[in-house]
Structure formats: structure tokens, C-alpha cells
Symmetry: D2
Subunit: 348 residues, 4 copies
């Protein structure tokens, strides 16, 4: 029976937060079955040994990524570091499975830009042509037909969605955009480091990656495409003493008369029918979306300073990674886009 058909899924890369978050979402997704999860360093162990929260829920033994070739798979999620992902995409280039890459390897426009910002050569530039940037609110139709999707970065998701309606309408005054973004530490990954050492983060706060963070160019390219003219934005990330969540506070000057009413109309129009963007009239907080696939956005017109301020919040592991990847999968498979993604945010 059609309704009972389940798609076979693989998660490549089990140890990181995007891997475990994909598992958290997909074990409850009624249209898929997790066929395999891979880890090169923990091969043979049950997934739940790595992530004890899954005890009794997902005890599948971890396999090597080499096994992917031997399985009939409908969708492969690559939850791998950039630079590693492209190696597998090259290796599996003739495989039929749809691929969703959660790394940064195919988010930019081509190998030169990639090299400039990621400081390494791209080993499989051929795939850039068919890789679709997987931000459903911008590219839904192209994603539906895609075989390879580059899942957006977490900061770009929050940042692009916060300003897309204005760029789309070519309302942005050149050079005026400042995006001051703040992220929880899960964005820095599962691996212990000085950056994520508890006492360096707890009760603390700092900026990082000033001027040169890789997500800058990803934001600039996408927003530039929207306004059909190159964009230059000022992007500054900060590290919050929280687990999950990104708040982007975006500032822009506009090139025509503006009001709160007009601003609300522009955003309302742009996001009509988009199930995971919620326009807010009260100030959004990280926990309003935590654990969910929502992006809450509040655009504000400051008459006194003649500037637009936009607040946008996401859960970096869900809308900023695993949830958006599942959203992309749903579109690629042609099933209802909300499937498996309707859990309510967890607050407190």
C-alpha cells in the first residue's frame, strides 16, 4: 500500500550534534526508516552507546561509510565536516540516492569562492552545478527537483531569512547592513576544545571570527542573488553561554520611504504560506523556537534613526541544520513538507 511505503535513509557521520539531531527527528518521521548510521571511529558500537539518550530508541550498530555503497538507499544525509563531505560525494557520484550535505562544501557559488573562504582546494567541483542551496523559503521549487542539496549554514539561515524580503524588493541601501549574530555553543560542534570548555563559556560572552567568518560570503551570495546585485554585509558572530539557538540582530538602511506598516506587509507577503517562518509582534527569544524547526522573525522600523532592525531566532541544530535537512528531504521526496517536523518548541 502506497501509504505504508517507507524510504530508506542513511546518516553518514554519527558522532556530531547534527548526526544525533537527525536521528532525533527521523526516528519519529513516519515516512522513513533509518537503515544505517556510520562512524569510522566507533564502528560496531550501538548508536546509543555514543548518545545514551537513544538507549532503547535507536540501538543500531554503527557501520563504516564504506557500507553505504552496498545498500539500497533513498536518501543519504552527510553529517560530516567540510572537506570530508565532498570526498564522499565524489566517491558516490554514480549512486542513485538523493544526497543532503550538511557541510559547507557546496553552499557557495563555485570552487574559487570556496577556496578563498575555506582555505582549501575543492576536490569535486563538478557537483557545484547540480547542488541546490537548500533554503526552502527561497528555493522550494529547485529543491523539489534536486538530487544533491547543500544544506545552509546555521548563521546564514537566520541571517538570510531576516533580510530576504528587503533584498528581494531591492530596498537595501548599499553597504548599510550590519548583522550582529549570537549563537549557542552547539554550533561549535561536539568536540572538546578551549572554545567550548565550560568555564570559558559559562557566565561569559565574546565575539569571534570577526571580519572573516565563512558564513559571511554565504549570506552575501544569497542576498546578492535576491537583489540581483552583489551584496556586502558586515557579519559578526558571538558565542553565547547556551546550548542551542541563534539570534541575529540585523540592521539596515533602506532606499525608499518606510513605515512599520509597510515593513509588516513586505514580510507578510514574502513569507505567506511558508510553514516554518513565524512573523512575531512580540520580541522573540531563543527558547521560543528551541528544539523546533521554526524561524521566528520580527521586523522593526525605527523612525527616529530611519533604520530597519530585524530580530530572527532559530534553533541552530534544527532549522539551522538537521530540521532543515529533513525539510529538504521532504521536498525532494515529494511528501508534505511539514512531515516529521511539527514538534513544539521546548520551553523552559
Amino acid at each position: 500500500m502506497e501509504g505504508k511505503k517507507k524510504y530508506n535513509i542513511a546518516i553518514v557521520g554519527a558522532s556530531g550534534y547534527t548526526g544525533s539531531e537527525l536521528a532525533r527527528i527521523l526516528v519519529q518521521h513516519q515516512k522513513v526508516e533509518i537503515k544505517m548510521i556510520t562512524s569510522e571511529t566507533h564502528t560496531g558500537k550501538p548508536f546509543s552507546e555514543l548518545h545514551p539518550q537513544f538507549l532503547g530508541i535507536l540501538d543500531l550498530p554503527l557501520e563504516s561509510a564504506e557500507e553505504v555503497s552496498k545498500n539500497q538507499l533513498d536518501v543519504v544525509f552527510l553529517a560530516l565536516p567540510h572537506g570530508v563531505s565532498m570526498e564522499y560525494i565524489k566517491k558516490w557520484k554514480d549512486k542513485k540516492a538523493m544526497m543532503i550535505d550538511l557541510s559547507g562544501d557546496y553552499r557557495l557559488s563555485g570552487p574559487d569562492v570556496y577556496k578563498n573562504w575555506y582555505k582549501q582546494d575543492h576536490v569535486f567541483p563538478e557537483a557545484f552545478d547540480r547542488a541546490i542551496y537548500g533554503l526552502p523559503e527561497l528555493h522550494e521549487n529547485r529543491i523539489r527537483g534536486a538530487q544533491l542539496v547543500a544544506n545552509p549554514g546555521c548563521y546564514p539561515t537566520a541571517s538570510i531569512l531576516s533580510l530576504a524580503p528587503l533584498f528581494k524588493d531591492q530596498l537595501i541601501k548599499e553597504g548599510s547592513v550590519v548583522i550582529d549574530a549570537k549563537s549557542g555553543t552547539s554550533g561549535a560542534g561536539v568536540k572538546a576544545s578551549n572554545t567550548t570548555h565550560f568555564s570559558n563559556v559559562n557566565d561569559n560572552f565574546k565575539a569571534y571570527g570577526l571580519r572573516i567568518h565563512r558564513h559571511t560570503i554565504e549570506i552575501e551570495e544569497q542576498l546578492g542573488n535576491l537583489q540581483k546585485e552583489k551584496a556586502k554585509i558586515q557579519f559578526t558572530p558571538h558565542l553565547l553561554p547556551v546550548d542551542r539557538g541563534i539570534l541575529a540582530t540585523s540592521y539596515a538602511q533602506v532606499n525608499e520611504e518606510m513605515s512599520q506598516k509597510k515593513l509588516d506587509e513586505i514580510y507578510g507577503e514574502f513569507y505567506k504560506g511558508k510553514p516554518f517562518v513565524r512573523l512575531r509582534s512580540s520580541i522573540p527569544a531563543l527558547k521560543d523556537v528551541r528544539g523546533s524547526n521554526y524561524c521566528d522573525i520580527m521586523p522593526i522600523w525605527d523612525e527616529r534613526t530611519q533604520r530597519v532592525i530585524v530580530l530572527s531566532v532559530i534553533d541552530n541544530l534544527v532549522k539551522g541544520a538537521a530540521g532543515q535537512a529533513v525539510h529538504n528531504m521532504n521536498l525532494m521526496l515529494g511528501i508534505p513538507q511539514e512531515t516529521g517536523l511539527l514538534q513544539s518548541p521546548m520551553q523552559p
Copy 2:
């Protein structure tokens, strides 16, 4: 069609954490429909105005509890402070709906014990006889036939489950039990107070309620019933700088020879077939169960000191409140007990 039948549900008391947590679980529960949510202070407002995380998910306008009498309801959840709950249970005593009381009003054995520990008279003692203590791992059969369930306290849930197998087998040396429990602040409720003021909790830690915490008697009565002899336990709660979760570290001396192997068998036997208790062989942490209905338990035999140590963790708002209430509802309605309760823990 039988499979499509949905039960009509009311949540009485919308503003607290148990109210919003019931909503979080029930909006995804396939066998129920939330017909009404009540709040006396916010009547008329959408539920999502009080709890913005529910925007677009549950925008139901809040009603007065007075409206409960006018509706056809299958189950009523009372998410109210103790002392208030019993007033409504009295008022609705002829109503047909099943009632699940999340307050402490019917957890104890009778009005005298209630008065001793809650320092107030009980206004409707008649219902004690039919109120079933809703800890499914102990009283599953009685809950199945109940019309009124007293949902256990959060500390008692973690504490009783950690020692029940030993009390059941009458293995506990009298007077030897110490339960040192630590809870996140959501247990203290949604209302702002000095106790929950951020700078009094953050980067801080302290004990409270020493010697006289109400949950002491609840634990003693339940464990005493199990061993068919009164129990006296030392119970000390502490306030953790975390949102959710209880860890109970329980210590006991036993009255016959013990070993790790024997201990594991006792616990394995007792919890066989209980879907929400997971016996652990690695040390459980709060986040291993956060957002879920699991109680993870690790019993340890310390040969050197001849003492049993049991670690048990729950999410105080789920297994310690709303999740357990839904578990009780499932049993009362005769539907599969796991229904709507299988979300994976959220880590990080």
C-alpha cells in the same frame, strides 16, 4: 471509524509549566483533541500569547474553568496549585470526565496526613478513597480502572522508582535510607520569586526544605506500602541551576548479602516490560532524559561500604508531571500506554 475517534480533553490551568508541558505533549498525541484550556487571569487571550512558543500551533482562546461543566469532556487535567485542585474536584464530583490531578491534593493516604504536611485542611476528603496514586510502574492495574488519578510529585517519582525494587523485596535495613535529590528550577514553578531570580540560581547551588519537604511523606507512604511496613527516609532536595531535570542519589543499607549481579537482577525483574524505565550501565545525566518520559536508573553495589547507591534521573516536567499524567490518561482510556510519549530526549 473506531481508529479515528479522538477523546476530548481539557487542561485546567494554562499559565504554569505543567499546563504548557501538557499542551506540548498533547498537541502531538494522535488520540486526543484539546478542547479547552483554562486560565482565570488570562481569559480570552490566545494560549500562544501566554506561551509564544505555541504561536501557530495552539492559539486556542483561554476560557474560565467555569466552562468545564458545560463541555462534553473525556479527560480533565488539573494543572493547578495544591489547595485549589481539590476545590474543583469537589465542584465537579458528579461530572463524568476522568480527572487527572497534577497537584498534591490526593497523593497522600488521607486528610490527616495531608493536613500535617500541607498545613491546611482538606476540603474534599471524600475523594481520597477513589483517588489512585498514578505511578504506572507500581499501580498500572488500578490506574486502568480509575476515574480520579493523583499524579505523583516530581521528587517522589524519581525517588520511589529508584528504591521500589528493594522495598518490594523487603531488603531495606530500617532507617538507613538517604535520598539526596537535586532539581532544576522549573520545579519551583513559573512565578517569579527570589528563589528563582536568575542571579540567585545561576552559577549557584543550595539545599532547601530540609527535614520538612512535603514530598518526604509521599515517598515514605509509597515505599512503606511496598514493603508492607512503615518507612522512614531522609530526604533532602537541592536547587540546581538548570531548567529541567531531577537527579536522585539514593543510599541504602540492605539486610541480606548483596552483589552487583544480584542487584541488577532485582531491578531487571522489577522493571521488565515497563516502557519508560531504562536501566543503565553508564552513569545517567539529566540531559539523557530531558524532554522525554524516561526515567533512567543505575543501581550500584559498593562492596567496600556495603551500601547500595542508586542514581535515577527524570525530566521533572515530563516523567515528573505532564508526561506521567498523559501516561496515566492512556492507561485510563485503554489505549497503548506509550501513545504520544515517544519523543527522544533532547541533548544537547
Copy 3:
């Protein structure tokens, strides 16, 4: 003997964080003696009953502020809410003691601006003329001769210091300044409220006071004075899940050619000989200054975007309140300005 002379000090307003922080600093200050501390609601109680950390250190019984008139005092600190402070300054207008007001009552240029931003009438505008804005890095000489000092707000301290050198040199491109500031919750005061309820802050983050925060005008007036032309800045505060600390991330475009070297020279020149400003070449974090009177500043030139970014961090209760007040006192009394203010930051 001259060296032994101690000045008599009163702290008016014991219950708040600025009151207890003044006590923490002043009990170790070798040139002063705390003669009295006042609280209208806790009169008679030892100070250490309100703040148990002072047990055995400062057990002085709290007095009513009415007693201030009866004592020989050299310096009176007013650690009171705005609107209350001015009442006392009016009442004590003929008292000889130097006064340091930690509220916002005399920080602005006059009663009209005050009314506009604080939404209430000023009851004692006469004192505006003699009130000196107590930011020692800008107004050291005027503070030395002052009898009444308006201690700066916490955000303005971090914000003004971050941009003062550029405004002083009239380098700022009009309308280009965005100050995105983030503060710990102690800035919201000691009183329990929804805003500071643990579970609303912990693992969470949000903006507040957009467009209309009172500190906006305080920053604009001070920076405007420096460049001898009105300034308009975009100021957005955010609430961090930390106890103490403000990070201001300031963005500005400049009206002449700039380089990192030139920027460093401008800041180096401006802050030469200022003991509590530390120019940083590594990214400053809140904990680098926690518990201390330092303001760490890092100016960055972004060649790509042609924009200056300045990071500045302070402890809002020390450099942003009590420490700066003591600094002002030292200047007013003519004793070495660092006296009592050299404790090292506490990290972790």
C-alpha cells in the same frame, strides 16, 4: 596622623546590587570607613542578613536614610532607583557631604531631556548645573572639583568608551553608528520579575528596549559633546544568561581614510595614562574583567567593508556602577585614583 585619616562614608540603599557591590569594594578601601548603610524596608537588620556573603565582614545594622542628616559624612553614595535619588538630593541640598548618585537622575543635560526619556517630571532640576557626569576617562578634571557626581549608566560606560576616541577626533560618519550591546541580568536589578526568572533567562537570549532604551540619549549626549555636534546612534540592548558583564559591539563608518595602525594610534593616544582602560589585541571576553574596574577595548578596522568595529567589555556592577563610583570618590577626595580598585578580575 594624616596617613591614618579615614573618610566617613554612607551607602544609601542597601538592598540592591549596586549597594552590596559598593560594600564589597569599600570594606577593603583603606581610606574610608563605612559609617552607615540605609534601607527603609529592612531598618534594624544587620546588612549581612540581607546579603549573607558579608557575615562577619559587614554586620552593621541598617538605618533609615533619615539618619543621614544627623551624621558627619564625607561622601554619600546614593544607590537608589531613578526618581527616588533626586528626592534625597533635594532634601540634602544643604548638606556638606559630597554626593555620588548611581541613578539616572542627573546623567542627562537637563529636565526636559530627562522627562522625554524617563517619562516623569524632575523634582529638583536646580542641581543639574552642578552635577558632573562621572566618566573619569572623559571628565577627570571636572570630577576632581565636583560636589555632586552623576555616575554613568552601565551601557553608556561601555558604549561611550568604545567610541569616544573617534568622536573626539570628529571621525564618525553621521548616522552610521550601531551599538549592539549585551548585558548580564544583574543590570536588571535584585528584584524578582518575569524578566529575571531563571527559566526565562537560562539557556535563552533576547533583545529588549529596542529604539527607546534610556541609555540611548545618555550615549548620544556624551558622544555628541565630544564631537561638538549632535550625535544619533542606534542602540540595542540584549539580555545575556550571565550574572555580570556587558559587551558592546559597536559599528561605525568613518569620514577619512583609516587603517588598523591608525586606529590603534588614535585609541592609544586617547587612553594613555587611564588606569582602567586596557587596550586589547586579543578578543576580550566578559570574564576578562569580571569583578574588576577595567574596561577592555579592542578596536578593529575591517578593510573589506570599510567599517570600524569596536569590542568593549566591562563588569556592569563595577566599572558600570559601584567601581566607577568609587573611582569618582577617589578623584573628588584627591586621593590616588586607583585606591581600593585594583582587585584582579575573577576568571573562571
Copy 4:
């Protein structure tokens, strides 16, 4: 002039938290001068490059520990891991400087016990005879005459002080003691690891080191000495999501009649004249002592369960490490014991 004499000090081991905490305390200590700080991995760098909070305060270049032999030093602090410390104590055995060892190498009674619990051979057992256990509340006189002091562990400091009065009076019922202790993460050191990875600690809580933690034997030996009979205690540490602080909740049954009054007298008597122990009549919290050398203790008699509960809190880096080491130094040098240790706790 005698009063002006400053003692020359070295801190061996600059990178850890005990090293930086020693620096924080000693830069303000009027009787000492920090002559050298060592680090084998960062030799040549300024101390403030490792710990930016000391910029402008302590910029001393780091030296190799080999240089210690070449300097005239009065006191050497060894802020090193166990196993490393004893190597240096062996190497410097003929050096005249007083030595204070902050590792565990000389805290136990001898090399066999050491090997049993630290799982390694002791390389310089000869020094056990002259090493004094540096808990001033117990061994003040012996510390005054010592050349080598073994600075107590953090958990033992909080634990021993909480029960010493009862053991001293031989009041403890054998086998009845349970110490349930909770520590901030700085106790786990400065080095990044899974244990201290932010998202593994934040909003989380767990036990560790059950049954076998090394501090168990240290507590047992010291308490056993006090009652002149071997002691066996149940000790369980837990990891708190806070930077600093230990709370030990200790439970004991007693072998004679007890009352709150009697208990208070026993503790009052024992701690009379001890400047850093504060007996509390309100429940102590970690922040009541944070950043300070105080140990706050509250003994409670539970009439209902006939059990003593003792709450004790310390800052693990101060009273549990660097502060206590400086206290020991003061005693060894014969200067007033409070010197340099009177900073007030930092709250919030």
C-alpha cells in the same frame, strides 16, 4: 625596616586554575612578591598572555621550573598535577624554600595508601614524614613549623570541616556517614575534555567517580585520626553546571542523645577563633563564599529521623586550593593568618 620586608615567592605551574588563582590572591598580598611563575609549555610568554585577565597586572614572563633552583625564594607553590609534584619535591629536596604542594602527592599517610588510590608508585616517599596536611582548622600548630605542606583536596576541605567536630568528640555511629558532594567544573581543571565540554555540563548534572574517588581516603584518614579510630565514609561527587564552588551535604547518625542546641555548641566550640569558618543559621549557597576563603557550615539536627545533616560550602579554587595554600603560607611565615585573604565573596 621589618615592616617593609617582602617574601619572595614562586608559582610553579602557571597554566591551570590553581596557578592563576594563586596569582589573583598573591598580587594583592602585601607581604609577598611574586618573583617567578613557571610553565614548561609557554616559557617566555607573559603570564597575562595565558590569562588575559591579568593584562597590566601581572605580565611577568613565564620561566621553566628549572630556574627555581637558581633563585633565592622563601616560598614555592607547586600548582602541578599529582605525580609531577613529587618529582620536583624530590629534585629540590635540599632547597631551603618552604614548599606548598597543591597536588595530592603528600596528602595521604604513606606510599602504600597512595599507590592504592592513585594507581601509581610514589617516587619520593621519604618526604611523607615531614609533609604536614595543611588544613589550618585542624593542624594549625604543626603547619606553623612546617617546611613542606600538603595542601588539602577541595572535596576533603569541605567534607572534613563539615564533620570534624563530631568525629573529634567521637560521636559518629560507625558506618553511618554519607557525604553527597557537588562541585563546580573548575575542579576538573583548565584542560578541555568531554567532561567539561560546555554542552555536556550546561543545563545538565550527573554523579561521577562513585565508590572510588581518591578524595574518599583523604577524608577517611583525616576523620579517622580525629576520632582515633579508622573511619569509613560513603563519598559521592557530582558535577555542577557552575564554575566554582563545592557544596557537601553530609549525613551521620550519632551514638548519643543529640539536639540542635547541643549540635550548635559542639560546632561553636570547635570553630571558635577560626577566621575562615563561618557557622550559619541560614542555608548556605555557593555564592555566599565565591571568590573568598570562607567555609560556611550549617549543622542541622533532624529529630524525626535522628540524624545529623551538615551543609558546608567553599570556593574550591580558594578555600579548596589557592586561598588555603596562602593561609598555610601565612602560618609558615609567621605573619597574621588572614593576610591577603579578606576579600569579600562575590555575589552575584
